[in-house]
Amino acid sequence: MNEELREIPDRQHPLPPATPDLEAAMKNTSNGPRFSPADLQNDPKAAHDALLHWDVQSEQILRLLAQHPEHGGRLEKLQRADGWLRQRAADTIVSRTQDGDNGPGSASPTAPDAGLACPTAGELYDFASGPGSEPLPRDRHLAIDRHLAACESCDSFVATLAIAPPALLLLGDDEVGVSVPAVTTGTMPEPTPVRHVSGHRFPARRVLIPLAAAAAIVLAIGVWRAFQPVTTMRAVWPEAPLLRGETADALVWPRGRVLERSEAVARLAPALASAILFELEAPMFELEAPMFERAAPMFELEAPMFERAAPAGSESSRVQVLRTAGGAFDVPTTIAEWSPTSSTSASPIPLPAGHYTWKAWTRERGLDVELGSRDFEVVHDAALLRELSAILESGDEDADVRAVAFLDARGFRTDARVLARSLPASPGRDAYLGRAPGR
């Protein structure tokens, strides 16, 4: 065979040099990887691995491999190669027996093919040290050892004992001590009914050890948090999750849950006393020049040209608020409608707690174009107001930012923005307000 042909790209070295024996020889799992039938059809590497460990594959996998036009032939050759090796071992056993050399411990001469006769299942069980096995005589142990080299089926039977049997379904300690019936008396006592397993029958340590471990973890976390520097508790502006794609439309705010405008809310945060603001998306190209001026030195841009989205056809817009009972099949009722003059407009009527839908249209070239619809819910949440009050009245420097983060985290993002807008300008605040929801 040509040596150049041997150096094919997928040829791997049989073993990396000096590989340490890190794995235990006896494991609770099969030595070979497991495959599904689909893997063999679709994944050449899986089929290759299955062939490498063909002796531990299930009959189903072996059948699939054998039926495969490419792998079938390879499997047959591998099995024949394995058989050839085992035949060498069998020949050696026969020749040794004929020579009268049965190995150390052999007591008497035996028939030439005695070493090839399969041991009984019990002997194999004892040889592989199954649970409750009994020690075999040394010569028998050695004979079986040699036989396994020559017999693939006995070898595979022994391999099944490498996996430890499962624990039994024990039913409780109080069953110990039940009187043993006298079998020899002839009258058989009625066995007690099958006892149901109940929760309190677990050994105490099986419950206490995990509990102790959990308590230790909780304690460790508590201590760690207690010793954290105060700076880590500094309020931060909420951040939006990274979303792939775009779920935004022209109707920006309100959305989700909105606090009901009430005297309590007004006392707590005067910024939230105003009517609910309805925000439509600002024109996309209405950008401020300074943004690009900042970028100019980096990219060597000269006198960038900015164009506002052509609003020529947009003559006016219209907003409609409908109230629903919150059910999927409720018929909404229109409760307010107005024509805003800018992208932000206030509701002309107070909106009590309840479910609402708002819709918006723009009129372009004489035609109404629907911008979409969005649901929101006005709620009165006394518990939330108490928590918000505690934050705002804490007297901390960053109480306002924490209040914004609190409202944002609780889903009152419309109110969080209103509150943020009332705060002094800062990079964090501007970044928060400049965030487009759903983008």
């Binding site: 065979m1 042909l5 041997r6 094919i8 997928d10 040829r11 791997q12 049989p14 073993l15 024996d21 794995e23 020889a25 030595n31 290759h48 490498l52 390879r74 050759k77 591998l78 024949r80 190669a81 394995d82 050839w84 090796l85 071992a89 050696t92 040794r96 399969c118 009984t120 299942a121 019990g122 069980y125 199954g130 409750g132 050695l142 050892d145 040699r146 080299a149 089926s153 039977f157 004992l161 996996i163 049997p165 624990a167 039994l168 379904l169 024990l170 039913l171 069953e175 110990v176 001590g177 039940v178 043993v180 019936p181 079998v183 058989m188 006592p189 066995p191 007690t192 009914p193 099958v194």
Partner: protein, 192 residues
């Protein structure tokens, strides 16, 4: 239900005792059976056969509480029964059939035929060439085990490792040989 009580109940074929046997030792039964059968329906059949055999063995007084627990005895009986049944099945799969009308020789030649011998030589050559590409230790292990017919204990003593390590390294060497052979098969197929 305590073990001896269970055994007594099984001898008397009390429904509660049989139910206890099936429920309590189900995982043990199927652990053994699962090592021998991959098909679900075949596993169920094997389960039934094994349970009936266990009851027969109990009737025959095979279980001795002084020798060990019932679970250990049951595992041994189940495993051995699975081996026996598997051997029976395998022997049934390879019947020696004689075509009708053929003359049956008085003493059939049990050795391989000319075609088989040629194939054996070919595969032997492949194995020899494959072994030449293995690490020295792998070559030594395979030679000691399959050519010299050494036991695992003897091989371990010669190399200076434990029996468990010998088993592991032997398995690893066999896998390495298969990897080499698979590459050779691929090359042969590519050349054709």
């Amino acid at each position: 239900m305590e073990e001896l009580e269970l055994v007594a109940g099984l001898r008397a074929r009390h429904a509660e005792a049989v139910q206890t046997l099936l429920e309590r030792y189900r995982s043990l039964f199927f652990h053994c059976i699962g090592s021998f059968e991959s098909d679900a329906s075949a596993r169920e059949d094997l389960h039934q056969e094994v349970v009936l055999y266990v009851l027969e063995r109990i009737d025959a007084g095979s279980f001795d509480a002084e020798k060990g627990s019932f679970g250990t005895w049951l595992y041994r009986v189940t495993w051995c029964r699975c081996v026996d049944l598997k051997r029976k099945t395998n022997s049934r799969r390879t019947p020696k059939m004689t075509p009708v009308g053929d003359k049956v020789p008085e003493r059939p030649d049990l050795g391989p035929g000319p075609g088989d011998e040629a194939g054996t030589e070919e595969i032997g050559g492949l194995v020899r060439r494959g072994m030449a590409h293995l690490e020295e230790e792998d070559q030594l292990l395979l030679t000691l085990r399959y050519v010299d017919g050494r036991t695992l204990v003897e091989i371990g003593e010669e190399i200076g490792i434990s029996v468990e390590q010998t088993k592991y390294r032997l398995k690893r060497a066999a896998t390495s040989l298969r990897r080499v052979l698979l590459n050779d098969f691929a090359i042969e197929e590519a050349v054709r």
